[in-house]
Each structure stands twice: as C-alpha cells, then as structure tokens.
Symmetry: C2
Subunit: 273 residues, 2 copies
C-alpha cells in the first residue's frame, strides 16, 4: 500500500526533489498487530532530521493519520515513511515556502531467521569506506548510494550484514544497522558526527543502559576493537538486537550483554510501544 500526500496508490511527482536530489529523510517503522512500534520516537527523529535539512516537518497528526490508515489494512509490515522537500523548480536552490511531500509505503516484514536473535549473525567487513560529511552525519536522509554500493559487495545469503569503516579506520556501523561492542563494564557505540545514521534503536539502547546505571560510551571504535570485543551487537527497528557470531572468520557465542540488551528492548516494547 502506498500513500503519496494522502492519496492512495499515487505516484511521486517527477519534479519532486526526492527524485531529483534525494532531498529528504525517511524512517523504517516496524508494524506489528496493527501498531506502528515506537512511532513517537520515529516522528521525533524525522522532525530532527527534517530540521537538519531545513525542511518543515509535516504536522504530527497528519503523518500519524496516514500511518494509521496503512496500519489498519497492513497489520504486520515494514512501513517506510519518507518526507521530501517537495516539488521544486529546476536547480539545487530551494524556495523559502516549501511544500514537503509525504510518502508512506508498506512492504512485507523481512523474514529474518529466529537464529539471528538467538545464536547470532555472520557479518563481513565492507571494502567501501564511508565519506565524512559532518553536515549530513547522523541524519537518515535519502542520499543512500553508499549503503547501496556497500550492500552490493556480497551475495552470500549466510552473511546478514556488512560493517562499514570511515576513511580513518573507524567502524561506523552496518549497512542497515547500528553497532555496539562490549568492553569490561561498558557498552560502546560509534560517534556519528562525521558519517553514519543514528537510528532510534541505538538511542533506545543508550537510554536503557543509562536508566539501569550501565555505562554506555559514544566514541571511536576501530576494526581491531570490534575483533577484540567480547560481544558485538547490531541493532535496528526491524531486527531488534542481533549478536554477532562470526566476523570474517572469527567466531564467538552470544554473551550476557546482548541478552541484557534484548531484554531492555523487550521491556521498552512492553512499556512504550
């Protein structure tokens, strides 16, 4: 099901700046039993990302109604919510009275095997290095060719995710996930001030750790740090938290840290959505 500015099955105007320049932002929302999980967090992030690009975020009630319209029909789905700067004249310049577009699309939930959460996933290191652009770092914008190229590096269905370094050798995350590693007494997740996407599940884990008095640092993580870590955990809205069981040949078993993170997320799901 597709809603473009509230119109079912409409196309996106060819003049829309999403098409021309990827001039917009998006969210991927898990819908279960007709509920758009953690919608408030998704909307808050959408609004923050819009602000980074100077796009007026559509009204919360309008967007929420469109999400609910789809949830009523597609009870279990992956919902993509795109906000673009809208139609525009030719050229990079945008006018000061924009009319943002809302594009809401349902797709089947990915059929990740149960074992991804239980025994963990196999991951690889991507050859592509993420470019550093502080002006766009952390934002889930529509310029995603780096992710597309990185994901095209492997075709082995046994490999669930590829990890990405920046040009200085810092691990930033996976092509579609954020990463945490465990160090004695602390969780660590990469700083995303020069590249990468700061997802809401990363945020939920950071806040859950804080509430429980578990140290969670945001800092630089090298590839070596990942290989040396007791536990490596990948998170996103559709996956939840996956332990990494194999990285480029080096294996490990899921430990207490990923089980705690999974538990935190489950408790947060139960309380907040």
């Amino acid at each position: 099901m597709v809603l473009v500015n509230g119109v079912e099955d409409a196309g996106v105007p060819a003049h829309d700046r999403a098409v021309a320049y990827g001039d917009g932002v998006f969210r991927t929302v898990e819908v279960r039993a007709g509920v758009a999980r953690h919608w408030e967090l998704h909307y808050a992030k959408l609004a923050a990302d819009c602000a980074c690009l100077d796009i007026p975020c559509p009204d919360a009630a309008v967007l929420r109604d469109e999400v609910l319209r789809i949830c009523r029909i597609e009870h279990d789905c992956a919902l993509k919510v795109i906000v673009s700067r809208g139609a525009g004249a030719r050229g990079y310049r945008y006018n000061q009275s924009p009319d943002p577009s809302r594009i809401v699309i349902s797709a089947p939930l990915p059929d990740y095997p149960e074992r991804y959460c239980d025994v963990g996933v196999r991951v690889r290191l991507c050859a592509l290095r993420l470019a550093q652009q502080p002006a766009l770092a952390g934002v889930k914008h529509l310029n995603r060719l780096e992710n597309v190229l990185a994901r095209a590096e492997w075709d082995d269905s046994e490999v669930a995710e590829g990890l990405l370094l920046d040009g200085e050798g810092n691990i930033i995350g996976g092509t579609m996930t954020n990463i945490f590693i465990s160090r004695p007494g602390a969780l660590v997740t990469p700083k995303l001030d020069r590249c990468g996407v700061a997802g809401i599940t990363r945020d939920r884990v950071i806040r859950a750790a804080m509430r429980r008095g578990v140290a969670c640092h945001v800092g630089n993580i090298t590839w070596r740090d990942v290989l040396d870590a007791d536990e490596v955990i990948l998170v996103n809205s559709l996956a939840g938290a996956w332990p990494v069981r194999e990285i480029e040949g080096s294996t490990r078993t899921p430990g207490p840290v990923v089980r705690a993170v999974q538990q935190w997320l489950a408790e947060d799901d139960a309380q907040n959505g």
Copy 2:
C-alpha cells in the same frame, strides 16, 4: 512536460529506488530550436555513470526517442534526463535483473543575464566541504544533498555561483559548474577522483584545448591558486563558459583565455551539436 518510462505526465512509482535512495544518475541538456545539444555526449556520460552504479543503461534509441518527443513540443528548454535503477523491494540490496526507470522532464531555460558571459560573474566560497567518496566521484548521481546545502548558503542574486573545497582544501568546482583556471601557458581543472561531478562541458573544453595544442592539466587546485589565477572560468551545459569577475571581493576582468574557451565551445556547437 514529463515522460516517465515513456508515459506522459506519469508519476514516479513510490517504490522507485530514485525516491528511496537516490539510486540513479542524470543529465541536464540544453535544448535550443528543438535540438538537444550534444546529446551523444550526454548519452555516453549517462551510460558511463550507469556503469559505475551497475545500472544497465536504457537503450540509446529508446531514450533518444523520448528526448525527441519533448524537443518537438518544447523547442527551447532545459531537459533533465534521469535514469534510476527502477522499482525494487525494500532494502539496499538490488536484484540482478533490474528494470531501470527513465524520467525525462522539461523546464524553462535559466534566464542568465548576457553579462554573465560578457563581463563575468560574482562567486563566493562555500563553507560546506565536499566529502571524499572515490566510488562515486565524477558521477552525476542523484545523491545531491551536498549541492543543495551548499546552494542554500547564499541568497544574494548577484552571486551566480558558490565554489566548493574538499576536506583537504582542494577546489573541486562550483555547486553546478566545473572550474578551469589559467596559468601561464596552460589551463588547469581539478582532478575529480575523490569528489565532484565531471560534466560534459568540462570534457569538451579539455578536448578542444588538446586539439589546438593548448596545454590543459588535470590536477590539484587550492583556493590560493584560484585567487592567484589570471583567469577563472566556470562551465556547464546551460551556462557555456562564464568568466569570474569577482571572488569574495577580489576582482578581475575577462581575459583572452575565457574568450578562447568560449570560441572553442561555439565552434564545437557549430560542428557537433
């Protein structure tokens, strides 16, 4: 006028990867008196850029017919030709039997004043630094948020263009133009192997210089080099070649080099397109 996969006034499917990820490439073509200028060069660049992204470029005859359909109605326009990877399932991964989309849009030609070519343009230096991504450098892809953000830095209609540096202080070009500077006995234009877009007019100037035995180097250019240059020239398909008459307060008058470049382009127009 809009053609989406040959269908007039159609929208772009919301599932198209141009919308989701900016997963495609484009050209901006000058149409004068019903002729799409230098179409062969544009198509060759489109095909090369598609190859960089592993997108099968639509057949030359099909795309040409669509361009001609619009040229027959819109005799003088700026034609935007977009090729995307087409519709796809959710997720960054693309399937191996893609069905690329063709989007052809006409827009009014920009109303650049005559004096831009004659006495030159005023330009500024943008604060945004271009990120370095060798895998995408030179390609005119649809991930253009950097250009959007850079163009949003100024609102002074007297400033025709903004110049962009990479993170290491090399000048890469303007937000919508390629740059040449003159040194004694030679033209120089930036290497575009880590960022920037290699436009066809840049290529036409390089080849025109070569044919005439004029040295034209592709190399690193710093901001200092731009300020020190006798002549600074900006080129693209709609502008032709503009002399720069003022850069951040430092002024100059158009010299023999830009006149030669304009002459070369005019001769090439007469012969090829």
